[in-house]
């Protein structure tokens, strides 16, 4: 918990958020409503004060509202624009304190602990917020308390200077059904609820009710989550004296470009589109736009590309402010520079060059295949038309070198102690096996006509490590591979 200073939380609630947003741009004198289509009916989502005074309510069907009030002006709701507007307001609110979070779709919550004195006190700060919101054309209700829950309760249900315990239970951010049920029990205010026995309440209404009560009372903390600002990739410079020469503008652009590229580098981003805005002394501004073929953040490469656009700019009486913004950025990870790293492009180029000499089909790669038959446990595919796959299964050692079976002399099911292979006389030092592999009945294969095979790994005293197999159904011994 906080030591020394009492925590103060301000809750800002815009009761007519959606309609205020629209009316700010286009004021309407008469009744006005925002409609939202839900369950196949147009319902009133938000409305202005005039409409409310005429008896319209939220959630009323739009057809009924039109019947009540024929001159109702309406507009469909735009929740996306509302969210964007709320984000703007959130950013504006950070000038009261840094700790600002959203509260639902039409509210903000500010943890103003320790920043009220900057405005001359809490009351002055709230008055300032209220007056600025009024100037912006927004209806605003403020609540200020020691906890977030209490601030919310004051903002939504508070009328004057009453205590938190006097507010209705609905001020605890509860569902409507819970509120109704509590009222039926006779628990009308928060004070009633706080004095009631907790265990039956928890049993009947679940843990949420008591959680919200405790949060409002301050016995369970509820932090305000500030949102992280998305990085803005823009820099600007204001000049004491206007400039007009191309070299000066280019020099200033270079000075702006370096910090911008540093910032892009920190965020591992690259600019795809850059806008250079040159503001003239006479308040006119001109823009130079640069579109790049690939994301880039190297100032030495970007700067010369601006030259052409800057030369076309009419400086007029001089330019006194320059702003450079990367309007479109794309992820550009940090890359290793040097010859050790091969890019896929370089490899593809090599494949193409080799392919032109020996045929693209002859540049191949191994791909895993689902089979126990040694020859079919991998596929060989042209590298140009396949992607590498590393899903290899490694159950038992397999030879590095596989060749067509070569018969050797052997008479029993046990591996021969001495045998001749490729004109070499070999002695078995160690035999590991057998590993029985049965032919795949669904794929007739001439080589596997002799039936199941018992594979043995033979380590000879001469050093060679061979892969032998015995065919018990058709007695015979063969060498098929070498673990070199």
């Amino acid at each position: 918990m906080f030591d020394g200073i009492k925590k103060r939380v301000v809750c800002m609630w815009f009761p007519r958020f959606a309609s205020d947003r629209v009316l700010r741009a286009r004021p309407v004198d008469g009744p006005f409503a925002i409609t939202l289509k839900s369950n196949n009916t147009e319902r009133i989502y938000c409305l202005n004060e005039t409409a409310e005074r005429l008896g319209l309510t939220r959630g009323m069907s739009f057809a009924d509202a039109r019947a009540f009030c024929p001159d109702l002006i309406s507009q469909p709701a735009r929740p996306d624009l509302d969210a964007r507007f709320l984000a703007t307001l959130r950013r504006w609110a950070t000038h009261y304190c840094p700790w600002v979070g959203r509260d639902g779709v039409d509210g903000l919550v500010l943890d103003v602990t320790g920043s009220t004195h900057l405005w001359g006190g809490e009351a002055e700060m709230l008055a300032d917020i209220q007056s600025r919101a009024m100037r912006a054309g927004l209806t605003l209700r403020l609540g200020c308390a020691e906890t977030r829950g209490a601030a919310w309760a004051y903002a939504h249900y508070g009328a004057g200077e009453e205590a938190l315990t006097d507010l209705p239970v609905a001020a605890l951010r509860l569902e409507d059904t819970t509120v109704t049920a509590l009222q039926r029990l006779g628990l009308r205010s928060i004070g009633d609820l706080a004095e009631a026995a907790r265990a039956p309440l928890a049993r009947r209404f679940g843990p949420d009710l008591l959680l919200h009560l405790d949060q409002a009372m301050g016995s369970i903390p509820e932090p305000v989550m500030p949102e992280s600002e998305p990085p803005s990739f823009a820099t600007r410079i204001s000049l004491p004296e206007p400039v007009g020469l191309t070299e000066d503008v280019m020099g200033l652009t270079a000075r702006l470009l370096t910090p911008l590229c540093d910032k892009l580098n920190r965020h591992e981003m690259g600019a795809r589109r850059l806008t250079l805005t040159l503001r003239r002394v006479d308040q006119g501004s001109q823009q130079v736009e640069l579109r790049l073929a690939a994301p880039m953040r190297d100032p030495h490469r970007i700067l010369p590309l601006f030259e052409r656009g800057v030369e076309d700019v009419d400086a007029g009486f001089g330019i006194d402010q320059i702003r450079l913004e990367a309007t479109q950025v794309e992820p550009l990870p940090v890359q290793q520079i040097g010859s050790a790293q091969t890019s896929p492009d370089q490899l593809n180029d090599l494949i193409t060059r080799i392919g032109t000499r020996i045929g693209l089909d002859n540049v191949q790669r191994f791909l895993p295949a689902d089979s126990h038959i040694p020859e079919r446990s991998f596929a060989i595919a042209p590298a140009a038309f396949s992607t590498p796959d590393s899903a290899w299964s490694y159950l038992r050692p397999r030879p590095l070198h596989l060749f067509p079976p070569e018969p050797i002399a052997g008479y029993s099911a046990e591996p021969p102690v001495r045998f001749r292979w490729r004109r070499m006389s070999l002695t078995t030092g160690r035999a590991i096996g057998p590993e029985r592999i049965a032919p795949e009945w669904w794929l007739p294969d001439e080589a596997w006509r002799s039936g199941v095979r018992d594979y043995w790994r033979i380590e000879t005293r001469e050093g060679r490590r061979l892969w032998l197999y015995h065919t018990p159904q058709n007695p015979g011994w063969f060498v098929q591979g070498e673990f070199a």
Partner: protein, 224 residues
């Protein structure tokens, strides 16, 4: 360890050819460190030759040459093998060494094409390692061209040669033979001998492949 193997042709102290030396007296000279250009004369260290020197082409022969190539590459490589060869390299066999997805296989129809592909790949440098299976001896020009290509691309080449088909242009020539390991099952014990070394002395080691660390371990120095 005999002096002959240590010096391999000439004394490293005074660069006198070995056949001109009185071995016994020279040995005492070394013991007294009286040569002014004294560098410790010892057998060439494995780690100075084994990750094969970059930007050079090397050769290997013997029954263990395929695994030598796989262990030397141990990563992205191009393996050039003529298409008429009926035996194959298996990816499962490569698995203990490296991920077979890193391997590219080129199947040229004859050795001329194989050499052209090898030169192209060595010069390009997109793949750091190129293995070339040779079926007929290289002449000096071909060997030299490969060396120059490797130098240009900064890549390593390795020719798997049949015994006795070595080229004079090679940087090192190795002989790899598997060795029976009486102590351990499924062993990868091998004897690697360096038979020719343009910039160093010769040596022989018993090595095995450590599958976990994916590197070659020298088991124990081989006694002559």
């Amino acid at each position: 360890m005999g002096l002959r193997t240590m010096c391999a042709g000439m004394c490293q102290l005074c660069l006198t050819p070995i056949y001109m030396l009185d071995i016994a007296s020279h040995r005492s000279l070394i013991a007294a460190r009286r040569c002014s250009c004294y560098v410790p004369i010892m057998r060439v260290d494995f780690h100075t030759v084994f990750p094969l020197r970059r930007a050079r082409v090397h050769e290997v022969y013997g029954p263990g040459s395929m695994s030598f190539a796989a262990m030397a590459a141990a990563g992205a490589c191009l393996w050039i093998r003529e298409s008429w060869l009926s035996d194959t390299l298996t990816p499962q066999g490569l698995l203990p060494m490296f991920d077979p997805a890193l391997l590219l296989l080129a199947r040229p129809k004859d050795q001329t094409d194989a050499l052209a592909v090898a030169e192209e790949a060595l010069k390009d440098g997109a793949l750091p390692f190129v293995v070339l299976e040779i079926t007929r001896p290289l002449n000096l020009r071909e060997g030299r061209r490969l060396q120059l290509a490797a130098k240009a691309g900064g890549t390593t080449g390795l020719c798997i040669i049949p015994e006795g088909m070595g080229s004079n242009a090679t940087d090192t020539r190795w002989r790899a033979t598997p060795v029976f390991d009486a102590a351990e099952e499924d062993s990868t014990l091998m004897r690697w001998e360096i038979k020719r070394n343009k910039s160093g002395t010769l040596g022989a080691w018993n090595v095995r492949w450590d599958q976990k660390a994916r590197r070659v371990h020298v088991v124990s120095p081989v006694r002559e």
